[in-house]
Symmetry: C2
């Protein structure tokens, strides 16, 4: 079925949830229309794009609950909010491993809130490729704030920091060892630390440890530490206030523009790599790669020389 | 310090552990010598390369203990054994998340056993790029069997299946839900199911569930199910016997040659992609990508058109 991209994009611009959902699906599935969708979306940018907020943390710290709390806090300010929940998914089933979106149902019928789960897939450039485009759809739909929630496992943390304007690292008390282990990493990406489950034992120790870490930061922005109890909806306004301050800092320092250019560069690179990978995939059915592989197996050539031949072939296509 | 690659490779061929370790380090760190190392290693192949066995499973099923048990069983057959433990590592610390290699110390002083932990890194093509080369080093060192142990999280499972001749999926009793969730995936990659901790409750149910799954397999090789208690060194010989049968099947059916060609094709592709990525990285400091990114931010162009320009630039370098 042909997709009427211009109509779909104008409907999304008017905030029609089904159009937004459809566009994100097309983007996520790498549909042939993606190129046209992107061109349409880029053709008319909002003067003030959405504030993109990344939220990451280990399993069990309360990411979904915290996201729901932030949505509520932003809604009380009358802002239109988008949520992208990016889950590492099994490469086999294509389904998300995490499922607990129950608390989000509070917002399920609010027409000013767009919620979308995306599977990050295992494939090359998966998150880097689809997420910026999904952000662009939500931005076009008039979201003033977009929250990207991701589980903090390995590379995903790095990715989210490169996608977001502001990155929240969520922690919970009693994770002392975790903080130690992740020290360098979370300090590098966090614009804001939120210690959730602050009604539990050990919250003081966790905050103290974070304070000691943050004291070593020599960048102009020293990440603040906010405590919350998301399950009881406590602290959401403090987080929103800290995020607003960070956004001001980003704008005033020129860092916002720098981050957005870096994000665009990442996206361009991801699209280019995907295109190149597709050229390789085209060679898969081709005799050339098969012949090269057979020569490597027999020892006639080595993989580096074979790769040179392959690159020469791709460059000439 | 200059590396004398030919001497290092001949020392490794004689089974000198330090030469083997050095070569794997060079490969893992993507040293400039890797191309020469690969060429040297490929120049003289053994007629009968090592049987590469992948072992994967969720955390807690006893992968390290099982690997140690298999090493022991193969050593009793007088075989030289290599072990690659591929751990998903934090992109931040560069260190491995898993550390429990205690049981492996039984073999730490055996000159016929080569054990190596590799960090899979988060970076593009990490596992796909370094592991085949590390396998080649162990193969040159005369290993008749190479075990690759990896934690079964997401993409790693897929990778290991494409790297190994035979893939063991390790399970433990009481993981019924896990089996259900992973059904399609583990059926796709497993050449052999091992239910470890078979002295625990629920082993019958797990075996029964696996049997029902395996009954649906329509490929020529139906994965056998073996039970073990690796912590008490029970069942290692059964696993080794099942692996020998699978290897016979692979050889006789032509599947072994097919898998090795596919592996070589993957490796060639990974090397080519890494080279291309390096061309992009070279453009990072360049005005071109920066200028394109700035144009995307202002809406002058869209990322797809920018990617086209970037590709044109890379193709002309």
């Amino acid at each position: 079925m042909a997709v009427d991209v211009p109509s779909l994009v104008s409907a999304a611009r008017e905030g029609a949830p089904r159009a937004v959902a459809r566009l994100i699906s097309l983007v996520e599935n790498a549909a042939p229309e993606v190129r046209q969708i992107t061109a349409e979306l880029c053709s008319a940018r909002r003067a003030e794009p959405a504030h993109v907020i990344g939220l990451t943390g280990s399993p069990g710290v309360g990411k979904s609950t915290s996201t729901a709390m932030l949505v509520k806090a932003y809604r009380q300010q009358g802002k239109r909010v988008g949520v992208l929940a990016v889950d590492p998914s099994s490469p086999f089933t294509g389904g998300a491993l995490l499922g607990d979106r129950v608390r989000m149902q509070d917002h399920a019928t609010d027409p000013e809130v767009f919620i979308r789960s995306m599977a990050s897939r295992g494939h090359l450039g998966g998150l880097a490729w689809a997420t910026p485009q999904a952000l662009r759809v939500l931005d076009a739909a008039g979201c003033e704030v977009i929250l990207i929630e991701t589980v903090g496992v390995g590379q995903a943390e790095v990715d989210i920091a490169s996608l977001a304007d502001s990155t929240i690292v969520l922690l919970a008390p009693g994770m002392g060892d975790g903080i130690q282990a992740a020290k360098a990493g979370i300090l590098e990406i966090a614009d804001l630390f939120v210690v959730n489950k602050a009604d539990r034992d050990g919250v003081q120790a966790t905050v103290r440890e974070l304070r000691n870490m943050v004291a070593m930061v020599e960048r102009p922005w020293r990440p603040p530490i906010v405590t919350t109890v998301a399950a009881r909806d406590q602290g959401g306004d403090d987080v929103v206030a800290a995020l607003a301050k960070h956004y001001e800092h980003l704008s005033a320092s020129g860092e916002l523009a720098r981050r957005r250019r870096a994000r665009a560069a990442d996206e361009i690179e991801a699209i280019a790599l995907t295109a190149l990978r597709a050229s390789f995939a085209g060679l898969r059915g081709d005799d050339r790669l098969d012949a090269l592989a057979a020569q490597v197996v027999t020892g006639e050539t080595d993989p580096y020389r074979a790769a040179d031949s392959l690159l020469a072939a791709v460059r000439n296509t």
